[in-house]
């Protein structure tokens, strides 16, 4: 990535962060003009930057948002929650583009499509009003123009006529003009008609490319929107029509009086739109829903949803799915690597010298002590090298936190639970691989916090809490680990309910439940198949549970814990390794083969007389300090032939697995070593019980086991 681009992205991320903060503040306090100014300036600067680096799609989106903000500043438009949401969506898109730019030096190929949709939200704010439908049905005849490539919508400025311009005649010069569309708000009679005010809405289909049309539109005054026409076969619902249908769904979602009227009116508008664009079958279904007499808004909502989604184009490959393969590195870090290389060269030269001394019997004695010293120096250097190399992959948590303010806001709105997200420690750094994996688990936990933790406002007030809930998202470095926490001030986890659900779903036998301590019960939330949501809600409860969160974190070598205080809230704590590469392992021997076990899961090693090991059914166990610990014979688990168990004592490794204690019987214990763990890939990826491989000093490949997988 060139320096220009690098600076643009780095500054852009800061601007996005600032603007996000200001927007959220503005939502709480819409009259704060300083915040509005801050948001406006951020968008303005982003626009300038995008123009300099020639990212036109980004520039267009930011420009549209800036225009809207400018109208709000000028008092022409009022600030609505919708506009705030649109601005946040815009920032979210920009962050995703930044990620793409860092990986590929350019915007994704389909950026202009996303840009159009976003820009349209600002430029053509939808009012679910019959007047707007005129425009909604444009382009519905585009199949009659197979050569059509581009569509244009243009809203000239109101003073266009006064300024002596002719917006319609201008379209005569549109390259490849195929079809013209016109609309104007319908007025009741002409009594109030102002012939000097331009209220025209002009549309056109063109056979020219979007770029050519863009060049033409650059000369127009007012707001315009260019879209590429989809192939006739994949022609979906017009964006306008879709937006109007969406608006009806929103209308239906409103609660309170007049529900029946809303259903009738939404159905009428939807049916009109569908008929106007030639979807008579769908329109008939909508009419039927209306005339069936029931005021079942859910039925109509589902129907409209299916009409819209039935049209959803094939999902574009998500940029988020392409893991970024590029890391931005601070120049200082490279400098320190260069210095280290120099020192390593010096160390090698010193070893050459020692080698020379060794050849001469007279100096051999000196050489030996010198060699020891060199080895110490060298190991210090290698240590530093390792740390420096790992530091190259370090990124701030901000990269994953950045998207949450908008997502939390949206989820909170969907659930009607006003919530404030407080973020701390965004600058905390961690390995890129760790940070990248965190998004999904954190999103899941935040969702749970909002959906299950935070109470409805009325309940909060009744409980003496502020109506506005607070969710804190924090990151901090603790030693060689990074801790990320999500804390809510909601109702907390009700242990009785956890017990009941665990029993109902057969996660733990009822009698075992009785014997479990509160903390163990709490831990059941992470058990596969557990979900306390009594009904599937739109936000969470899609069948993916906290077990997925836990396994994602454990794959990284991390841990998840949940603490909860009834009525006061819940804290979910992720402890993650700073880097995923270095792992301390202990080597063990089974059936003549060496394996590794991550040291962090080993509690202790003991020798147990064989007669103290009791068979319990098909399993075996022994008593360790008054506690019964189950034993697995590792050789059997791995299917290798065990050494003759003639020794009077068994060598036992006591392990902690998700808080439970279990033991492995091995043939012998080896040493503790720091290794760079290489995850299994290709066909072997995902082999249960194996977390990866590493090379030993003598060149052998060591398989490192994953105890939790073995015990499953």
């Amino acid at each position: 990535m060139n320096e220009f681009l690098e600076q643009f992205v780095a500054e852009g991320r800061d601007l996005v962060e600032q603007a996000t903060g200001d927007l959220l503040g503005l939502e709480r306090n819409p009259a704060d003009s300083a915040l509005l100014d801050g948001v406006f300036r951020a968008f303005h600067t982003l626009k300038g930057g995008a123009a300099i680096v020639d990212f036109h799609a980004m520039e267009r989106v930011v420009h549209a948002a800036e225009d809207a903000l400018s109208r709000i500043r000028g008092g022409e438009q009022i600030l609505t929650a919708e506009t705030v949401g649109d601005c946040l969506s815009c920032l979210d898109q920009i962050v995703q583009w930044f990620d793409h730019i860092e990986a590929h030096d350019a915007l994704p190929l389909d950026a202009h499509r996303a840009a159009n949709t976003l820009a349209a939200r600002f430029t053509f704010a939808i009012v679910a009003h019959p007047e707007q439908i005129g425009e909604a049905v444009w382009f519905s005849d585009r199949e009659d123009f197979p050569q059509a490539r581009t569509s244009i919508r243009y809203h000239p400025e109101a003073r266009t006529f006064i300024d002596g311009e002719d917006p319609i005649a201008a379209f005569e010069k549109l390259p490849g003009l195929l079809r013209l569309y016109l609309a104007a708000p319908v007025s009741d009679g002409l009594a109030d008609y102002d012939s000097f005010s331009c209220v025209l809405q002009i549309g056109a289909l063109s056979s020219a490319s979007a770029a050519e049309v863009e060049a033409f539109c650059a000369g127009l005054r007012g707001r315009y929107q260019i879209e590429e026409v989809l192939g006739a076969s994949s022609a979906g619902l017009d964006e306008r029509a879709k937006a109007i249908l969406e608006a009806q769904i929103q209308l239906l979602a409103e609660r309170g009086e007049g529900a029946a009227n809303r259903v009738v009116s939404a159905a009428r508008v939807a049916s009109n739109v569908l008929r106007a664009i030639g979807r008579t079958d769908d329109a008939a279904r909508v009419d039927q829903a209306r005339t069936s007499g029931d005021d079942d808004s859910d039925h109509l909502t589902r129907l409209l949803r299916s009409v819209i989604e039935g049209e959803a184009a094939a999902p574009a490959p998500s940029a988020a799915l392409e893991a970024a393969r590029v890391v931005r590195v601070d120049v200082d870090r490279i400098e320190s690597l260069v210095k280290l290389t120099g020192e390593l060269t010096v160390a090698r030269n010193a070893i050459d010298h020692v080698a020379k001394l060794l050849r001469d019997p007279a100096t051999q004695r000196d050489a030996t002590s010198l060699l020891g010293q060199q080895a110490t120096d060298l190991s210090r250097l290698v240590d530093r090298l390792q740390k420096s190399v790992l530091a190259l992959r370090v990124v701030p948590m901000r990269q994953v936190f950045q998207r949450f303010p908008r997502l939390v806001r949206e989820m909170a709105a969907a659930l009607e639970k006003p919530t404030r997200l407080e973020m701390e420690g965004e600058a905390t750094e961690a390995d890129k691989a760790v940070v990248e994996v965190l998004f999904e688990p954190l999103l899941h936990v935040l969702r749970n916090a909002l959906d299950h933790g935070v109470e409805p406002s009325a309940d909060r007030i009744a409980a003496g809490k502020p109506a506005l809930a607070t969710i804190a998202l924090r990151a901090a470095r603790e030693g060689d680990r990074v801790v990320v926490e999500v804390q809510d001030d909601g109702r907390g986890v009700e242990l009785d309910r956890v017990r009941r659900v665990a029993a109902e779903r057969g996660i733990v036998a009822a009698d075992a439940l009785g014997a479990m301590g509160d903390e163990d019960v709490m831990d059941l939330i992470f058990a596969p198949g557990f979900s306390t949501a009594e009904q599937i809600s739109a936000v969470s409860g899609r069948g993916v549970g906290m077990d997925v969160v836990r396994s994602a974190i454990e794959k990284l070598g991390g841990r998840v814990r949940l603490h909860s205080q009834p009525k006061q809230g819940t804290l979910v704590r992720f402890e993650l390794p700073f880097t995923v590469m270095m792992t301390q392992i202990m080597t063990i021997e089974v059936g003549g083969q060496a394996f590794g076990i991550p040291l962090e899961s080993v509690i202790e090693t003991v020798r147990v007389p064989r007669k103290k090991i009791a068979g319990i059914g098909a399993a075996r166990a022994f008593v360790l300090r008054d506690r019964t610990v189950p034993i697995l014979a590792l050789a059997e688990e791995l299917g290798v032939s065990a050494a003759k168990s003639s020794a009077p004592e068994a060598t036992i490794l006591v392990l902690s697995i998700n808080g439970a204690v279990a033991a492995l019987e091995v043939d012998g214990l080896g040493e503790r070593i720091d290794v760079m763990l290489k995850p299994l890939d290709g066909l072997l990826a995902g082999t249960p019980g194996v977390s990866g491989t590493t090379l030993l000093g003598d060149g052998r490949v060591l398989i490192v086991l994953e105890p939790a997988g073995l015990m499953r």
């Binding site: 019959p130 439908i133 005129g134 049905v137 005849d141 000239p156 266009t160 006529f161 002596g164 002719d166 917006p167 319609i168 005649a169 379209f171 005569e172 003009l177 079809r179 013209l180 569309y181 016109l182 609309a183 104007a184 319908v186 007025s187 002409l190 009594a191 008609y193 012939s195 000097f196 331009c198 209220v199 025209l200 009109n272 008929r275 106007a276």
Partner: protein
Amino acid sequence: MTVSVENEKVVLRGACTAEEAEALLQHLLTMNEPVVDWRGCDAAHGAVVQLLLNLPPEKLEGPPRGRFLREFVAPALEAAARTRAFLARP
């Protein structure tokens, strides 16, 4: 004069400018059931076309003489009128 009243009809001729939109408006306001004949029209400013958008299609006598008006503007006016009529139905 490109906007005039002849035989109870408003007649547009030649190139109609933005200023003439006002004259057209006055005719439309004062006449009972006005009919506009634009068959002799070569070009019409957007302000004039915007006004014509308010006219039911059967009250507009065409096609106009100008190629751009005939091929592009007239069909757009017709389609807009169809949509309006459709939305106005009970």
